[in-house]
């Protein structure tokens, strides 16, 4: 009810909002994943490429055991070790893609939302063109044409996030650019650059940064999809690739579901954590529902 909100909102001690237990749980999981991704070579893991053939167990794949926590694949490679290594590419690509998207898309969005006019018209059209491709289709198109390295795959996914991020940044900027405090800044004689940096950015950057986690979730899933289709980083182990390996034949999936299910679990928990933490941050910063 509006009347009570008004009277309560103005008072000095507005109740401190909390992020909650779930949020910190998610953050812990993400921190763990980042740790794993950063230090995989230093961790006491089995070699992800060695074949641990064990004649006593017959032909691989071997089911999970003390020796191989997540079991092994058809070539008797350790799924646990491979899954840990997979975190590396997934998280790196996810992180760099969304960073690139935010830097480029965010800048374009803020500038076009603030200045409007022809800059806005051009950038908006470019955004619409980029958004006219279903993102996976555009990703497939581009990755198919290039040497697929960590850098290029990140760049392609970064390119894909430019338009959605740019549009959000533009909308958020426009929402503030018309506010009277911006007008007030202009009429004390502040220059555009000053206004963008001091008045607009603090208001746009904080809500946008809470969307970064959600965006990263999208990028991680996209990388997984590309990898699943065999179109992500060519050399290296990825979660999507692992899942694909365990499911490409119905027989494999039936006999040794662990090969794909453990990477699925890791991927799921990571994406869930990114989504959940991002969503909590979004409500925490009171950002209106926006879809990336």
């Amino acid at each position: 009810m509006s009347t009570t909100n008004n009277s309560a909102g103005n008072q000095d001690e507005v109740a401190k909002k909390k992020l909650g237990f779930g949020f910190w749980l998610c953050v812990t999981w993400l921190a763990l994943m980042v740790f794993v991704a950063l230090f995989t070579p230093l961790l006491p893991l089995k070699s992800p490429t060695s074949n641990f053939l064990d004649s006593s167990q017959g032909r691989p794949p071997y089911a999970p055991s003390w020796k191989h926590w997540f079991g092994t694949d058809k070539d008797a490679r350790d799924v646990f070790s491979r899954t840990m290594h997979g975190a590396r590419i997934s998280l790196t690509v996810g992180f760099s893609a969304i960073t690139a998207g935010f830097l480029i898309g965010g800048t374009i969005g803020v500038i076009s939302g603030y200045f409007r006019g022809w800059i806005d018209r051009v950038s908006s059209f470019v955004f619409v063109v980029l958004l006219s491709f279903p993102s996976l289709v555009l990703a497939i198109l581009l990755t198919s044409l290039i040497e697929r390295s960590l850098l290029t795959v990140s760049l392609v996914l970064g390119l894909l996030s430019i338009a959605p991020v740019g549009r959000l940044a533009r909308a958020a900027t426009m929402q503030y650019a018309d506010r009277e405090f911006v007008l007030a800044a202009r009429q004390i004689g502040a220059k555009d650059r000053h206004i963008i940096i001091k008045e607009i950015l603090p208001n746009v950057a904080i809500p946008m940064s809470s969307l970064a986690l959600l965006g990263m979730a999208v990028a991680v899933v996209a990388e997984g999809g590309l990898a699943f289709l065999g179109l992500s980083v060519e050399k290296g182990i990825t979660w999507g690739g692992l899942i694909q390996l365990g499911s490409d034949a119905s027989k494999t999936l039936e006999k040794a579901p662990w090969i794909s299910f453990f990477p699925i679990l890791m991927l799921f928990l990571t994406v869930l954590s990114l989504n959940f933490a991002g969503d909590r941050l979004r409500t925490y910063f009171d950002v209106k529902e926006m879809t990336l």
Binding site: V129, S132, I140, G240, I264, N275, T291
Partner: protein, 318 residues
């Protein structure tokens, strides 16, 4: 009227830009000759290869400048001539491959979309009217789980549970089966794509309905003595559908993307799986045609969504 004309004009402009981007990417980023001929293109010592290169260059006007090639390709494309596929077994026209496979993908995407919409609307209505209660919280958690499940992973899980373990659903798609069983075979692939999208729709629509329920006109409806279900359905739903409709349009892209994965996992020979195969085979004309068709239909769908908007919101009618 003016509005419709403007929207259509914009859509045409978009399609042009999309085609330029696609054509440009394939011709600039990749080597078109390689894309057409594969490894043969690099084999300049073999007389047979040289001959093939000659033929390809003429066939695809590769000696002409890029804009001219684009114009030729575009005029062919709008007339339905998508060129020929590059394959070891003759050169069947791309249009044939497409017309055979496109209907399957369309069916799959439509089923998924239908499913997502008709699950999410009641789901959102119920949870929004019970916002904050235990059932709503559980449903929100469920939605989170679904959204966080990438569809290629969901496909693997569904396939494992329902086809392999329980045996309720067929494992694969058989192109020669009668229509009914083919539709049945598509249920699992459609669920794979539709479920996460349904969760996305539900979360969005739920929030919008809750916002609408806080509006004064809902209070006015209450003061008239209308019952709660009536207020929900007649007063709250329609004004809450605006962003839902936009998102349905935009998510068609996600569904098409999902169909690529789903078709690959469930082995449905649609254009999604064909796209992946062609990319891996470097089959340039097929990739070009599929990307163009997908992007164009996406543009058209969003155009239709814009028009649907005017049906729901009388304020944008001009």
């Amino acid at each position: 009227m003016r509005y419709y004309v403007q929207r259509v004009a914009l859509a045409i402009l978009l399609l042009l830009a999309v085609s330029m981007l696609t054509f440009g990417a394939l011709n600039v980023l990749g080597d078109p000759l390689f894309n057409i001929l594969g490894p043969v293109a690099g084999d300049v010592n073999n007389p047979d290869s040289i001959k093939m290169i000659e033929v390809a260059k003429r066939e695809f006007s590769l000696d002409r400048p890029l804009p001219v090639r684009y114009a030729i390709w575009l005029s062919d494309f709008v007339r339905g001539d998508f060129g020929v596929t590059f394959s070891s077994t003759g050169q069947p026209p791309v249009s044939g491959v497409i017309s055979e496979r496109l209907p399957r993908t369309v069916t799959l995407v439509a089923m998924a979309q239908f499913f997502a919409i008709f699950v999410s609307i009641p789901w959102a209505l119920i949870t929004a009217s019970r916002a904050g209660k235990v059932s709503d919280r559980i449903s929100t958690l469920n939605a989170f789980f679904l959204v966080a499940m990438p569809n290629f992973a969901l496909a693997v899980i569904l396939k494992y549970v329902f086809s392999i373990k329980l045996g309720w659903m067929p494992l694969t798609y058989v192109a020669d089966d009668p229509l009914r069983s083919r539709l049945f075979q598509m249920i699992l692939p459609a669920l794979t794509i539709g479920l996460p999208v349904a969760a996305v729709y539900q979360r969005l629509l739920r929030t919008d309905i809750i916002t609408t329920l806080q509006q004064d006109f809902i209070l006015l409806a209450r003061t008239k003595g209308l019952s709660r279900p009536r207020i929900l359905l007649l007063h709250a739903l329609r004004p809450s559908l605006f962003s839902f409709i936009t998102v349905v349009g935009l998510n068609t892209g996600a569904l098409i993307g999902g169909s690529i994965v789903s078709e690959t996992v469930f082995r449905i020979p649609g254009i999604g799986s064909t796209l992946v195969e062609s990319v891996l085979r470097n089959d340039f004309p097929v990739v070009l045609a599929i990307v163009m068709i997908v992007a164009s239909s996406f543009v058209v769908i969003n155009l239709l969504v814009d028009f649907a908007y005017t049906l729901i919101d009388p304020r944008v009618r001009r």
